[in-house]
């Protein structure tokens, strides 16, 4: 407004008060500065970081051991940074904006397209990694828009777990078709025990579990309002109506399903190999594993591929990116894949490694078969998967709680198309 008065008094006053004001301002600036500087970390020349979601003690340890061996092999230091899976994506994005991305980023395969679409990843072939001995399905699993961005070490999928003792006592065979599963589940439903447990919760867990039913029936995530998808949903509804599925199914996560199975409240369940460690820890539980039943005998059982992929984020430092690709090469090497697969009960991505693994863990052969035909969730719709997934979970939940499958799926398809 007005020019500062040249009056000496004012200047004197400001000099005096500076004694108090300045230190206080400095203190606040320092506090703010310290807090903010946490965002932009400086990269260490000789230390490479791998960021993953291995926050579980066992996974953290296994990855740590792998990285120790790779550090030795490559003559560098590799550090592991583990972030809870649900926060990994947002954390990585924040790191991108502060230019502090790790050298190797392990993303969930369903999240990888979003990151790749944003221009955040370097195609691995550009950095000298090959896809020799990796089945096409698994290459697709790590690809977006025809480019291979993510190397999987192991993959997982869903299978049918069953309680051997319960089935034996009832004199029942492991079901292989929808009709068989429905009748077996009905027969096994007694008292507090349900024939089958699966997750139809309002999150990715539920959608993951719905895909084998949708896909084995010829349904497709790029068009949800088809009779094939509706039939799959009607099959779930029929199981619920029979009483073979608990009504709480719509509120269960995959971990809840496993708890119910272990507690003897379910004779069979749809679940993944990551539960094996827990299942084995329960004494007296005699469980078996089979492929997920198909609509008609002779159909392919198409399950969803799950698991993480190792990617190289776009940091702009070509030399470091090349080294990062070498780290991925080491981590997804045959030997490392086998040891990681045996530890985590998942299936090695590499064909040769998978053959060796199959011999070592014959009890999980059904899982290896299921992986052979399994499909990636994002191969068709890419980064749009999150919208499809949200629409689909809302659809099967409303169908399971009363609405007609056709109407629910029709609305879901509209939701996806309108982009809301």
């Amino acid at each position: 407004m007005t020019e500062p008065s040249p009056d000496g008094r004012i200047r004197r006053r400001s000099r005096r008060t500076r004694r108090i004001v300045v230190p206080l301002t400095v203190v606040s600036a320092i506090v703010a500065g310290t807090v903010l500087s946490g965002c932009g970390q400086q990269r260490d020349e000789d230390v490479y970081t791998v960021m993953n979601s291995s926050t579980d003690e066992s996974y953290h340890r296994w990855d740590g051991d792998t990285l120790k061996r790779c550090s030795k092999q490559l003559g560098i230091t590799i550090e592991q940074q583990s972030v809870p899976a649900s926060q990994l994506m947002t954390k990585a994005l924040r790191m991108a904006s502060s230019k502090s991305l790790p050298d190797v980023l392990q993303l969930d395969a369903s999240e990888m397209p979003t990151f790749a679409e944003a221009g955040g990843l370097i195609p691995l072939k550009d950095l000298g990694l090959t896809t020799t001995d990796i089945p096409e399905g698994i290459v697709d699993f790590g690809s977006f828009d025809g480019k291979y961005y993510g190397a999987a070490r192991t993959v997982n999928t869903l299978a049918l777990f069953y309680n051997k003792d319960t089935l034996d006592k009832a004199g029942l065979e492991v079901p292989t078709t929808w009709a068989e599963m429905q009748s077996t589940a009905k027969k096994l439903t007694q008292g507090k025990r349900y024939g089958l447990a699966l997750s139809a919760g309002g999150a990715e867990d539920g959608v993951f579990q719905f895909t084998p039913f949708m896909w084995s029936n010829g349904g497709d995530e790029s068009k949800l309002d088809t009779p094939e998808v509706a039939e799959a949903l009607d099959y779930w509804k029929a199981l619920l109506k029979d009483g073979s599925l608990s009504k709480s199914t719509v509120n269960w996560t995959q971990a809840d399903v496993n708890d119910q199975f272990m507690a003897g409240n379910a004779a069979m369940m749809i679940n993944g190999p990551w539960q094996v460690e827990t299942l084995n820890a329960k004494k007296g539980l005699n469980w078996g594993i089979a492929e997920i039943p198909v609509p008609e005998a002779g159909d392919d059982s198409v399950g969803p591929l799950g698991g993480g992929v190792l990617t190289v984020p776009n940091t702009g430092d070509t030399e470091r990116e090349k080294t990062a690709a070498k780290i991925i090469g080491c981590m997804s090497g045959e030997q490392e894949e086998i040891s990681y697969a045996i530890n985590s009960w998942m299936v090695p991505a590499n064909t040769k490694a998978a053959d060796i693994w199959r011999k070592k863990t014959p009890e999980l052969a059904a899982l290896a078969d299921q992986v052979a035909t399994a499909r990636s969730r994002t191969a068709k719709v890419g980064a749009q998967w999150s919208s499809v997934s949200l629409a689909l979970q809302s659809a099967f939940q409303s169908a399971l709680t009363g609405a007609s499958s056709e109407a629910a799926l029709k609305r879901a398809q509209q939701q996806v198309t309108s982009g809301n």
Binding site: L24, A32, R94, A118, G201, S248, N251, L390, S398
Partner: protein, 323 residues
């Protein structure tokens, strides 16, 4: 101001005083006053800077973001083109928004009424003297100490339709033991409200109990002498005296309830079939599941706006109380 001349006159008469001099060095009162006010500003400055950095900046950023096409690629390129009111119209045209808004209102009103009534009843109850009063009072605080997510997970188990404790308890006492607490679209929101009431009771009770301690006992005695019934005394004496505390409880309760997120995620994930989606979960879903940060910002802004209206209301009420 009247003593100015005296001390001002003393100023030039004071040559450099020896260090040992115990007499305080007189200062120019006008400059002293200015210095004092500047010092005050100096003390306020850290708070102002803090507020500007951690509240002002994100707030403005969030408003700007709601008019931008803010996608994951923005984090790499730094570019977020402005897209006018696209985000806003997208959010408003999404059927889920209206549903979430309505459910947020039901959730907030239901929770506040439940928490407040039970909290007040307990607070009044504990003003009487009886054995174990203190122990019981601290036991009731327990839900307050449990992290929200933990409460959510525990209650999800309790509410399980078949294996939950609640239904088997209801079954044993002869009531229908198959209530679909979290699995029916008509029941889930009520169950989530019930859990939130359970969580909110301690806060309401503690604050209202504190308020009740402030109500002079003589007033109640006087009312009793005048022949007022207990209920009449409570309504006409205690409640009006409690009014400032009640406003605090309700406004603070409102602000923490309207933005509910963690409890819903832990209990139902917004399901079944979106029947427990609130504005909080919608923001979360838009921003961190769909990675559409612009749309997330829109819903976030609406939440801030709703809270701001109540904050202003609260400040007005408080100012009137002060008069």
């Amino acid at each position: 101001m009247s003593s100015t001349t005296a001390s001002a006159a003393a100023l030039p008469a004071d040559p450099k005083a020896p260090a040992a001099d115990t007499v305080k060095k007189p200062v120019n009162p006008r400059s002293a006053k200015r210095r004092k006010s500047l010092a005050q500003w100096g003390f306020i400055a850290p708070a102002v800077i803090f507020m500007a950095l951690f509240f002002g900046y994100p707030l403005v950023r969030n408003i700007v973001m709601s008019f931008q096409d803010y996608s994951p690629s923005t984090f790499f390129t730094g570019e977020a083109p402005f897209n006018g009111t696209d985000n806003w119209s997208n959010v408003f045209n999404d059927g889920l928004f209206g549903k979430a808004l309505w459910q947020t209102i039901l959730f907030t009103v239901g929770s506040l009424v439940g928490q407040f009534c039970i909290g007040l009843a307990l607070a009044v109850f504990f003003t009487r003297r009886f054995p174990l009063n203190g122990i019981l009072r601290s036991l009731i605080l327990l839900p307050w100490l449990v992290p929200m997510v933990v409460s959510g997970i525990v209650w999800r188990r309790i509410f399980d339709q078949d294996t939950g404790v609640l239904n088997s308890f209801l079954g044993t006492i002869g009531l229908p033991g198959d209530t679909p607490w979290l699995t029916s679209t008509s029941m889930a929101l009520i169950s989530v409200i019930l859990v939130n009431i359970w969580i909110g009771i301690p806060f309401n009770m503690v604050i209202l109990y504190g308020g009740l301690q402030e109500v002079p006992k003589e007033l109640n005695e006087a009312a009793a002498l005048d022949g007022a019934s207990a209920w009449r005394t409570f309504r006409s004496v205690t409640l009006p005296m409690l009014k400032p505390v009640i406003t605090v409880v309700l406004v603070l309760g409102f602000m923490s309830t309207v933005k509910i997120l963690d409890l819903v995620l832990a209990l139902t994930d917004g399901g079944p079939a979106d029947s427990t989606q609130t504005l909080g979960t919608l923001t979360y879903q838009n921003s961190f599941v769909q990675m559409d940060f612009g749309a997330g910002a829109v819903v976030g802004n609406i939440l801030i706006l709703i809270s701001a209206v109540f904050a202003v209301f609260y400040l007005r009420v408080n100012r009137n109380e002060g008069k």
